[in-house]
């Protein structure tokens, strides 16, 4: 539980956490968890453990039709829904936990609409949520929700992709809050990763963005972290982490291996 003030919470807290990691000489690490997965009863505990290793935690609200996600997160979402996970439950759990890193909510739009825009900002800020990632809400449609969240110091992280034209990229970078989410390849979450192609795209985004730029979609190895480190302010690890949880492995050890991949060799 954190205070609902714009100075210490919200989107600015995310940006600060990423910059702090960069000052440490390493790219920030954002860890994705599907809420309530693998065990509903121990989720707050898992959230806290992951927040010790990651600079930012992205908590995924499971949705019945996750069209931007690959098979791993589809499976985790379905399991979480089957165990009765819902947005009100997730907000309660985040509120109950005491994570050492700022928490972002990743949700498809419909569960947020069902909760209600009017009460979402207040409920999320009270629970300690620092911002939102909404994969099916492009900037053309996001104004109304942005306006509902802003009084609570909360904003929406925007995506840029390899097929985003230059003019559009400027608008997306200007509208984004917390950081800019660079999807380094087209496709769903969890697929393969091409570091050379990613580097070129990331350079373009960083020239435009005043916010930190984090790369996601396909990050799974310490080697990739080392290759990408010079080109990004942070990395997002999602499907690979959920796979570790699926396999019953220790997520903290995996995250530590990614975090320490560049120890001391940045810039």
């Amino acid at each position: 539980m954190r205070l609902d003030t714009a100075e210490v919470g919200g989107s600015r807290a995310i940006e600060s956490a990423i910059r702090a990691a960069n000052r440490d000489g390493r790219p920030a690490l954002t860890a994705f968890l599907t809420a309530g997965y693998p065990q509903r009863d121990r989720f707050a505990e898992l959230l806290e453990a992951v927040a010790v290793e990651a600079d930012v935690v992205e908590v995924g609200v499971p949705f019945s039709d996750p069209m931007a996600d690959g098979v791993t997160i589809q499976r985790a979402s379905r399991a979480a829904l089957n165990s009765g996970v819902s947005l009100p439950w997730i907000l309660d759990e985040i509120d109950r936990a005491d994570p050492a890193a700022p928490v972002l909510l990743m949700s498809y739009l419909n569960p947020l609409l069902a909760f209600g825009h009017e009460r979402l900002g207040d409920a999320a800020a009270r629970a300690g949520v620092a911002g939102f990632i909404i994969p099916d809400l492009p900037v053309e449609e996001s104004r109304e929700l942005e306006e509902a969240l802003e009084p609570h110091g909360l904003g929406i992280v925007q995506f840029v992709t390899p097929v985003t034209p230059a003019a559009r990229m400027s608008e997306l970078c200007a509208r984004s809050r917390g950081f800019v989410y660079a999807v380094t390849r087209t496709g769903t979450t969890g697929g393969s990763f091409d570091p050379a192609g990613a580097a070129e795209m990331l350079a373009r985004v960083r020239r435009i963005s005043a916010l930190p730029v984090q790369a996601g979609f396909g990050v799974r190895e310490p080697e990739q972290v080392r290759e990408l480190a010079p080109h990004v302010d942070g990395l997002i690890v999602g499907s690979a982490l959920v796979e570790k949880l699926e396999a019953g492995e220790n997520p903290a050890a995996f995250l530590r291996s990614l975090r320490n991949a560049t120890r001391g060799d940045r810039r």
Partner: protein, 411 residues
Amino acid sequence: MTQTTTAGIDDLLAGRLPDSHGRFGAYGGRFVPETLMPSILRLETEARRALADSRFQQQLSDELEDWVGRPTPLTRARRLGESWGAEVWLKREDLTHTGAHKINNALGQALLARHLGMRRVVAETGAGQHGVAAAAACARVGLPCEVYMGAVDVRRQAPNVLRMRRLGARVIEVESGDRTLRAAIDEALRDWVSDPLGTYYLLGSAVGPHPYPWLVRELQAVIGREARAQLQERSGSLPDLVVACVGGGSNAIGLFHAFLGDPSVTLLGVEAGGLGSEIGHNAATIVHGRPGVLHGSRSLLLQDEHGQIRETHSVSAGLDYPGVGPEHAFLRDIGRVRYTSIGDEEALEALDECSRLEGILPALETAHALAGARREAASSTGRTILIGLSGRGDKDLGILAETESRDGDPA
């Protein structure tokens, strides 16, 4: 999102809807991952240009005549009419090439895909009719086609799977989600996200992100234009009532559009009532749904209190979908179209009645429209009723055989 609906029927008739945001009042829009936005914006520009281009229109109408078999007949259903106490006309989309209205849209979009220089086409299918239409249209224009189909539908519509394969398409069985049409759309969208610049998504109904609801309606509007002119020529008047079945709603929107500006014409959309009104037992989205966002647009959805999409049921795979086209949601709100639902049993009875009295075996989807029309006829006699005979029932023989063996010989 909660917008005030100020748009009305005049805006629709004047061509102001969908607006520049792809909205029909509070419904529609573009709710897709950022990766798809450049493709969707380009598709809108190019589709508007193509549909306004006389050469493209000429090519489309030549193919509709030469290959699809348009115009389709308007059949006077005398024996059904006698039985119901009405003057009944059937717009025969079942007589198109591939046997359902789906081909009008599939052909138009396949021509558009080629025009846009796309390398491949992906499509989703429920009953398999859109999959067959897409496979045939892609073969005709010379583009490779892959069709996503839920595993449940692959089993209940097996003959259409074989047809798609013979037509050169690859059928990809979808085991995720609810393994029906909705999961097939999720998978097709995932495929498209992986190659947004080279892949054309040939969406089969008037659903999805803008510009699809508009584009599909424009390509299906030929049904209503023909029917209106044919009926005026044959009977010298307009119908009192126009009835069509509604899943995503493409045949209905195509039939209704020509009559929206005729205040004397009542329009009725018939959804799948399945086994009953309990949640999960039907696919009657307009009758039972609430506003939400799925598959790229805001419309009415069958969902739970937390915004999770519910599983649906209908004996008809083509109506088994938890959403509906945004233009239908709008037409419901402004009161221009009335929507009702018909259950599995009543649809099956209407299918038998039409088969035995008119010698026309309709699709299970279409049977819902026939049953809806029959109910209306019973409430007031002597009316002229136009029904969208959206497809033929050959594909449903497997399901009909099952119900026959369950019930014994049908009455």
